[in-house]
């Protein structure tokens, strides 16, 4: 494998690992804040115990989220030096602002919350968890504004391969970024809802701490149902946004090869990527793809065979692309050349297509589970099968979110900055052997830590809350 593929794999491994921990932080922080607000408002100690118990799981999850994030920031420099050099003016400044506005707030107030139970007043303590919830969701906004700029590079112009900021407001009000942010946040909050539902249901079946987990379950059931309904609706609107700014991504999601007016949606279809067509297309819903993408059954939906060439033409005109110019010259003088042909300026279809279907399929499962959980919110303990299904469903939102990000990132290829910079043009002149070594190290270290962390989470989740009236004890 060459340095390009290794660097991409390393980023994929580290970003996916990071994203095991992030969504729970985003969603559970808000749920914790709600629980603690209920405690402050009602004075009911049960809500305080809830905040403490779910908070303990939150903290086990949180630490790994923080440190695995640093490896992403570092990697832009270590492995994507040409990208960093080219886009620092915009992308770099957004990351710096993210740290200044959000990370300080998050890390400082999580300390107040973690260590401050006996040190600050109830209200200040409750404020601390709201600050954490606000800050973590704010940090997600900034990083998605940065990512959104890669998907839809607005507010800037490219001069000699470097992005120069023209209008900061345009960059931060990027409609693509806000749509993707809403989609990500709803997904993360849904994930946290299923996390609380699954663990509570298991305890309720075992008749453990009935009142405690009843309250947790009811809160999460309403929360999850709202999100399971909101997510597909917003998801549709996000799909329309994607169509508008990245028609190639939509075409890859649907394996749509030829530009067609009044395009049907095939219920059964499978891409034949090599021959740039589908193996089969069956059960068409007439005009449906046009309708979903543009709200008009007659609209033309661009196909991959046409988009590749036109995107390439736009890119070549904008940047003066020379296919035979090296993307990077290594220290030993080796030139890495990766010419791109116009027709190849499309994303890998199969992974985008399959990830999209996985995401949609899981969303349907979530809807059903959320409705069932809500209907059984008062007597879930008497339905062990449903309870167990909910526990087994905990990993599913994780898989769904990763599938969604696979659509977003693989579907953006071959660009690192949409129609402006190729992914291969972003790499560092670092020997492939170094990257192979660090990738191996990441896999081993992250693998071990991931297993340990999930094991600890499970252990503490199954142990349940400290007995009521408990004041101190050493774990």
């Amino acid at each position: 494998m060459d340095v390009v593929m290794l660097s991409r794999l390393q980023f994929a491994v580290t970003v996916f690992f990071h994203f095991i921990f992030v969504p729970l932080t985003l969603g559970l922080s808000v749920l914790l804040a709600v629980m603690e607000t209920l405690y402050v408002r009602s004075g009911n100690e049960q809500y305080k115990r809830m905040a403490k118990f779910w908070g303990k799981l939150f903290l086990i999850n949180f630490a790994l989220g923080v440190v695995t994030g640093i490896s992403l920031e570092f990697q832009f420099g270590t492995n994507w030096a040409n990208y960093s050099k080219g886009v620092g003016d915009i992308f770099g400044s957004i990351l710096a602002i993210e740290a200044t506005l959000a990370f300080f707030l998050e890390s400082t107030f999580i300390a107040v919350w973690h260590f401050g139970w006996d040190k600050v007043s109830k209200k200040v303590h409750c404020f601390a968890i709201w600050a954490v919830a606000f800050a973590s969701n704010l940090s997600a906004l900034w990083i998605i504004i940065a990512n959104g700029w890669m998907q839809n590079p607005v507010g800037s112009e490219f001069v000699n391969g470097k992005a120069v900021l023209i209008d900061f407001w345009t960059v931060i009000s990027n409609p693509f970024a806000w749509s993707q942010y809403a989609h990500t946040i709803l997904g993360a909050w849904l994930l946290a809802g299923f996390f609380v539902l699954g663990i509570s249901a298991l305890h309720l079946v075992r008749n453990n701490e009935k009142d405690f987990f009843d309250r947790s379950f009811k809160l999460a059931a309403t929360w999850t149902l709202i999100l399971a309904v909101a997510l597909p609706l917003q998801g549709h609107s996000h799909g329309v946004t994607v169509t508008k700014y990245q028609p190639a991504k939509l075409a890859a999601m649907e394996s749509h090869w030829e530009s067609t007016k009044s395009a049907p949606l095939y219920l059964l279809v499978f891409p034949d990527e090599k021959n740039r067509r589908n193996y089969f297309e069956a059960l068409p819903v007439p005009g449906m793809l046009s309708f979903l993408a543009y709200g008009d059954t007659q609209a033309e939906v661009a196909g991959l065979n046409q988009i590749g060439a036109s995107d390439f033409a736009e890119f070549a005109a904008k940047t003066g692309y020379k296919a035979d110019a090296p993307v990077v010259v290594m220290a030993d003088g080796e030139k890495i050349i990766r010419p791109l042909k116009p027709e190849d300026a499309i994303p890998p279809v199969l992974p985008t297509f399959l990830s999209f279907r996985l995401m949609i399929g899981l969303a349907a499962v979530f809807f059903v589970l959320a409705v069932v959980a809500w209907l059984r919110r008062k007597d879930i303990g008497e339905h062990p099968k449903i309870a167990r299904a909910l526990a087994w469903a905990i990993p599913l939102p994780y898989i769904c979110l990763m599938a969604g990000w696979t659509v977003a990132e693989v579907g953006r290829q071959p660009w690192i900055v949409n129609k402006t910079m190729l992914t291969v043009q972003g790499i560092s002149a670092v020997p492939a052997s170094s990257v192979a070594l660090s990738l191996a190290a990441f896999i081993v270290v992250y693998g071990c830590l991931g297993v340990l962390d999930i094991w600890l989470l499970r252990k503490y989740a199954m142990r349940g809350p400290e007995p009521a009236g408990h004041v101190a004890g050493v774990a």
Partner: protein, 349 residues
């Protein structure tokens, strides 16, 4: 609004802020890193070890954000320097990263299972996760001062060992000892009884080696790096290394006078002056090439656009004071010493 400050002035401001950010990171995370390095040497019992963990407890995460910010500001204000330095320092940075990951995890995991073997494993990671970053930061900054082998394309032509020359190693040891003294002075403020007196004695004992290594480093800097040229040209800047020496002696004097807070503050001042001494010495370059001076990257070449630097300055001027206010509130909130009794709380590490 974009033309209030000229691009040149903004570049100088950001270069100084860049140095300042690294200095703040060293001062804040320095005591965590130093304390972790001293863990096997100062703590005898499990309670003592836990006191050391909890003396860093509410702070280490917030302190690490200064590293993220320093990295982010390098990326934002000087993208070319960020790209060249981070890809050149590939191996040390990734090792630093893994060390920091293990440090964070050892805080979070150690006390979750009550088993001596389990705890022992995380104590080893806590030590390595603090000692290795201290060493590597020293090696990396010494390398930065000395120049790194980059060619005309800004591509690193050295190998892993290129930085580990005499000057680089001296820088590494300097940072480890400097952080260790800083950490001991912190523990001196955060603990009681025998552990506190051990910490105080440790700071005392390490002071002379620190002074020796600092002098050796300053002298070696004259031979191995071009840092002094700006100080010879503009002698008034000589106040920075002079202040560093004063602060160094102040650590000793305050410690002897029993003024422990002032001793810690002197150590912080020492680290600030040392960092600024090195960073200012690099100006007008931000990356020296040890192959040819012409391959060096200047602050001007590396910097972002005027608009970006202006916006970031606004953000920094508004946000950083707010950050400093709430972070100092948290320092005050948890100012009391960690005791064996406070370990009984179920929130303690």
């Amino acid at each position: 609004m974009t033309d209030i400050l000229s691009h040149e002035l903004l570049q100088i401001i950001w270069f100084l802020l860049w140095g300042l950010l690294w200095a703040i990171y060293f001062i804040l995370d320095g005591f965590d890193l130093g304390m972790g390095t001293l863990l096997p040497f100062l703590a005898g019992t499990d309670d003592e070890r836990r006191i050391m963990y909890n003396a860093a407890g509410p702070y280490w995460d917030g302190n690490e954000v200064w590293l993220i910010t320093a990295g982010g500001v390098t990326f934002a204000a000087f993208p070319t320097a960020y790209a060249v330095l981070f890809s050149a320092l590939y191996a040390p940075l990734l090792i630093l990263l893994f060390a920091l990951i293990f440090r964070a995890v050892s805080f979070e995991f150690r006390n979750k299972i009550n088993d001596p073997q389990w705890k022992k494993v995380w104590d080893v990671f806590q030590f390595l996760g603090n000692f290795v970053p201290a060493l590597l930061l020293g090696v990396a900054f010494a390398g930065l001062f000395q120049g790194i082998p980059i060619n005309e394309n800004g591509v690193y032509t050295g190998n892993l060992l290129s930085l580990l020359n005499i000057y680089g190693l001296l820088g590494g040891i300097f940072f480890v000892v400097m952080f260790a003294v800083h950490g001991a002075l912190w523990l001196n403020l955060k603990s009681e009884g025998i552990l506190r007196s051990r910490a105080e004695a440790c700071a005392h004992k390490l002071w002379l080696p620190l002074a020796g290594i600092a002098v050796a480093f300053l002298v070696a800097t004259a031979f191995y790096t071009p840092l002094y040229s700006i100080y010879l040209k503009t002698p008034v800047l000589g106040i920075i290394p002079l202040l560093a020496v004063i602060m160094l002696f102040s650590i000793r004097i305050m410690l002897q006078a029993g003024k422990h807070i002032s001793a810690f503050a002197s150590s912080a001042g020492f680290m600030l002056c040392v960092t600024l001494f090195g960073v200012i010495g690099m100006f007008p370059n931000i990356v020296f090439s040890s192959i040819k001076p012409e391959y060096s990257i200047t602050v001007t070449e590396a910097s972002s656009s005027q608009l970006t630097l202006t916006i970031m300055l606004c953000v920094a001027l508004i946000c950083v004071p707010v950050v400093l206010i709430y972070q100092s509130w948290v320092y005050k909130l948890f100012a009391e010493r960690v005791t064996e009794k406070s370990l009984q709380s179920d929130h303690a590490y």
